[in-house]
């Protein structure tokens, strides 16, 4: 170990200048982040320019990693007969140990140490810092590992660069061949497709590690290169032919809180949609009714997996998306918002207009209003190619619809009065109201535009980790969102997701400048909208609500023959 450390120290001293340059680059990037965080929140041109610099730093960062890896490895080159270490008492294993340790220090510890003050400044706790470290390491590893595999097979930088181009060319040609000659075989189910992604990732990872370790231990360059090529080839074949679902823990037994939740299928039907002729695709719509949702939970739905058997025994596997799930009731509970004061005239007017609009745009009946605690309506859409449209009703006899569901508990994070300059932070999320403007829309000039500067953890691991864990759900936005809360009116209104706006990620922190429109309460009087509360600005708060205690499960329903879409209803009656 002493000698390994001795080699590492030598490498660190040798690389001090490029490392200093790299550190400067990382510090500059964080400096841009600090500037964005302190910005006026309004000048989006300036934001765009800084975003450009941040992206430039990110690409330069990747380039620097590519160069630094070469400098690290070529200092004691593994290829050729001129490297000094080969005739010194330094074994390949010892050198490997030194280079691995050096790699961890340079590309693992150093960026974390540089980013740590930035994370602390953004209010990150231990949990968020852990996530950010993991992300930082994964990001570095992406470039480091592939660069390492190329560097150990080359003697100097020119060969390293040439080899890089050659490998890119080989992979590109391989992908083309794979697409041309190895189309998806066996019509795999979505779960097998997910497994293929994991297998390909595992093979590529194993190939890269194998190349590096084999080359250090044997110095047989051609064989090491062959190992890498074999891994790439295997990965390409596996992407097409891997037949097994290897995610073992997919949606295990129902968690306690989800046991009472059941789904019923209301209306399976085909919707050719208004743009059917252009898109050449059809949508199969499933109206789902959820029962037994705990009152303090939000039911979110995401992926729908449809497996249908035709009359000829053939199977159709398709993936669709489900939307829906009311948040209103549990949110009122956690934010302590009283029941909404219902203005009868306004309510009638809005309901009618909504029904009209829905019928006109979608040729479908409006979604029934959600009023009963514990119930939720979900709409699932599976999109298929148009040529199947005419065959589906006849050919598809019976099938199963599996929907991934998630129960979350709303977590109130911030509740801010609409005051300029106010910054609040909680759970690594910080929000500053940079400016409040009157709405430029003259009709509703009493509305307000909030210019908000926010930071929150990038937390990409939150999306990726469940994939490897096996109980993942696509697309369910577990992130926080803004709500307009007016307790005097009993009003709560969805505004925007956190992170929606001009947004850029700087070392694990997402900085967003958002423009949020807050509406003044209004009522309908005599068929016209009028202001409903003169002092509404003081009575309104901007609430940031996240989710916690996620529970994932799935439900499977039997699907029988489809019905053709219902004819559009007659024009609704004239509104009062």
């Amino acid at each position: 170990m002493k000698l390994i450390w001795h080699i590492v120290k030598k490498d660190l001293v040798r690389m001090r200048l490029p490392l200093a340059l790299w550190v400067l680059l990382m510090v500059a990037k964080i400096g841009l982040g600090v500037a964005l965080r302190a910005g006026d929140g309004v000048d989006f041109t300036w934001f765009g320019r800084i975003e450009l610099y941040v992206n430039l730093c990110t690409w330069l960062d990747a380039l620097m990693i590519y160069i630094l890896v070469a400098v690290l490895i070529h200092g004691d080159a593994l290829v050729g007969t001129q490297a000094g270490w080969k005739t010194r008492p330094i074994s390949g294993a010892r050198l490997l140990g030194a280079k691995v340790l050096g790699t961890l220090l340079i590309f693992g510890v150093l960026p974390v140490l540089i980013s740590l003050p930035w994370w602390l400044m953004c209010g990150f706790g231990v949990h968020e810092i852990g996530d950010a470290i993991l992300e930082s390491i994964v990001w570095q590893a992406l470039f480091v590992l592939s660069s390492l595999a190329l560097a150990v097979l080359s003697e100097n930088f020119s060969r390293y660069f040439t080899l890089t181009l050659a490998v890119i060319f080989v992979v590109a040609v391989g992908c083309l061949l794979q697409v041309a000659y190895l189309p998806d075989l066996g019509h795999p189910s979505p779960t097998v497709q997910e497994s293929r992604v994991l297998v390909v990732l595992a093979l590529v990872l194993a190939g890269l590690v194998g190349v590096v370790v084999h080359q250090f231990l044997t110095l047989r360059t051609w064989r090491s290169g062959g190992l890498g090529l074999a891994a790439i080839g295997l990965a390409m074949v596996a992407a097409s032919v891997w037949p097994w679902d290897i995610v073992l823990h997919r949606m295990g037994p129902d968690p306690e809180v989800a046991r009472g939740v059941s789904l019923t299928l209301e209306r399976p039907s085909i919707d050719r949609g208004p743009n059917y002729a252009d898109t050449k695709s059809i949508h199969i719509l499933f109206e789902l009714h959820a029962h037994g949702v705990p009152e303090d939970r939000v039911l979110s739905a995401s992926v729908t997996r449809l497996s249908w058997r035709g009359a000829d025994g053939a199977w159709l596997n398709a993936v669709g998306w489900t939307r829906g799930g009311p948040l209103d009731l549990p949110l009122r509970r956690v934010l302590q918002i009283p029941p909404e004061r219902v203005d009868e005239e306004t309510h009638r007017f809005v309901a009618l207009r909504q029904a009209e609009a829905h019928a006109r745009d979608h040729q479908m009946p409006a979604t029934p209003p959600v009023a009963v605690p514990g119930d939720a309506y979900l709409r699932s859409t599976v999109t298929l190619k148009a040529e199947l449209a005419d065959q589906l009703p006849d050919k598809l006899q019976e099938g199963e619809l599996t929907t991934d569901l998630e129960l979350d508990r709303p977590l109130p994070l911030l509740d801010m009065p609409l005051k300029v300059g106010l910054r609040q932070a909680k759970a690594a999320r910080s929000v500053r109201i940079a400016k409040v403007d009157l709405s430029p829309v003259k009709v509703w000039a009493t509305d307000r535009i909030l210019w908000v500067v926010e930071t929150h953890p990038l937390n990409a691991a939150r999306w990726w980790w469940p994939i490897f864990r096996g109980d993942w759900t696509y697309g369910i936005d577990g992130g926080a969102g803004y709500w307009e809360v007016n307790r005097s009116q009993g009003m709560v209104r969805w505004l925007a997701s956190m992170g929606m706006g001009y947004s850029v990620a700087v070392d694990g922190v997402r900085i967003t400048w958002a423009r949020i429109e807050v509406q003044a309460p209004r009522v309908v009087r005599g068929g016209k909208w009028v202001a409903g509360q003169p002092d509404w600005v003081d009575a309104t708060t901007l609430a940031l609500v996240g989710f916690t205690d996620a529970v994932r499960f799935s439900r499977t329903l039997k699907v029988e023959r489809l019905s053709e879409p219902p004819k559009p209803k007659a024009e609704p009656a004239e509104a009062p």
């Binding site: 000698l3 080969k86 008492p89």
Partner: protein
């Protein structure tokens, strides 16, 4: 005990055979020069011995270990200096020695200091700013300070000016006087090698043409001049570089064996005046190179 032994050692690069069936033994304590023209296979042979290249066929044993299995233990007893070796040029001399030292349990700091003074190396100068001669001396120092059992030098004099070469050889000789090691040095610089080595191996086109002690080699080669010999007298088998100009006949006899050989010359050139003189290693090398190092040479020597 042989420090180096090769059996049928062969290395091909594509269709080119750089080393062909090399059978070579280097006894402990020898200072052996590996000579040969450009492309003879000297550097390839040394790289095979140092496990920098893998043999296509045959094997080499260095310090009793298969060259393919040379590890940390063996390299701690081997010093290798090559003109092509990459050195950490960004280090200064002191940093370079400090870096090398921990790898060698037998590193002698006293010897290091002595050599540093002998070689007059500027400790604080970066290797990249050293002259070629200084750089080779720094490399040599780093290969000598741990008193290796085997010192392998690949073209150490290449590119050195005469003054530096003199310094370098003197340094080597001084160190040789203090240590008990085996040295294998490949070089074009025959005069310098002659001062250093007690054994000579000659490679040509990847084949070992001769391998014997320097004294034996110098002892058996004679340049002979005969004046007034009969015109019809021709060369004896094995004689090299036979030439005749008027009454003067010149040739090289690679099998001189004292009085008996001189008697044979006189008998072959009755009435002629025979004058024989010893040859320098350089002359022998040139003679052999020009004569194509025929196989008969070995036979004659035998």
């Amino acid at each position: 005990m042989n420090i180096i032994e090769t059996h049928n050692l062969t290395r091909r690069f594509g269709r080119t055979e750089a080393v062909h069936g090399l059978d070579f033994k280097l006894p402990a304590g020898s200072l052996c020069a590996l000579l040969g023209p450009n492309g003879a296979g000297k550097t390839t042979t040394l790289k095979l011995l140092m496990n920098l290249l893998a043999p296509t066929a045959g094997e080499a044993r260095v310090l009793g270990t298969d060259s393919r299995k040379l590890g940390e233990r063996e390299f701690a007893q081997i010093g290798y200096v090559s003109e092509n070796q990459q050195l950490p040029l960004w280090m200064n001399v002191r940093q370079f020695l400090d870096y090398c030292r921990p790898f060698y349990p037998t590193w002698d700091r006293g010897l290091e200091a002595t050599l540093l003074a002998q070689f007059a190396l500027p400790e604080n100068r970066k290797l990249q700013h050293l002259s070629r001669g200084m750089l080779m001396k720094a490399a040599l120092l780093s290969a000598l300070a741990y008193r290796p059992k085997l010192l392998v030098l690949d073209e150490p004099f290449s590119g050195l000016d005469p003054l530096v070469r003199e310094e370098f050889v003197r340094g080597l000789l001084e160190v040789s006087a203090t240590g008990e090691w085996t040295v294998l040095v490949s070089s074009h610089d025959i005069e310098e090698v002659e001062r250093l080595c007690d054994r000579v191996a000659l490679l040509d086109q990847g084949r070992l043409r001769l391998d014997e002690s320097a004294d034996g080699l110098l002892g058996r080669f004679r340049r002979v001049e005969v004046t007034g010999a009969a015109a019809e007298t021709g060369p004896a088998p094995g004689w090299l570089e036979w030439e005749r100009a008027g009454v003067l006949t010149r040739f090289t006899d690679p099998a001189y064996a004292g009085e008996a050989t001189e008697r044979a010359w006189r008998e072959r050139f009755p009435g002629g005046t025979v004058v024989a003189r010893p040859m320098a290693l350089r002359e022998i090398f040139l003679t052999l190179a020009r004569s194509g190092c025929s196989e008969t040479l070995k036979g004659a020597a035998a």
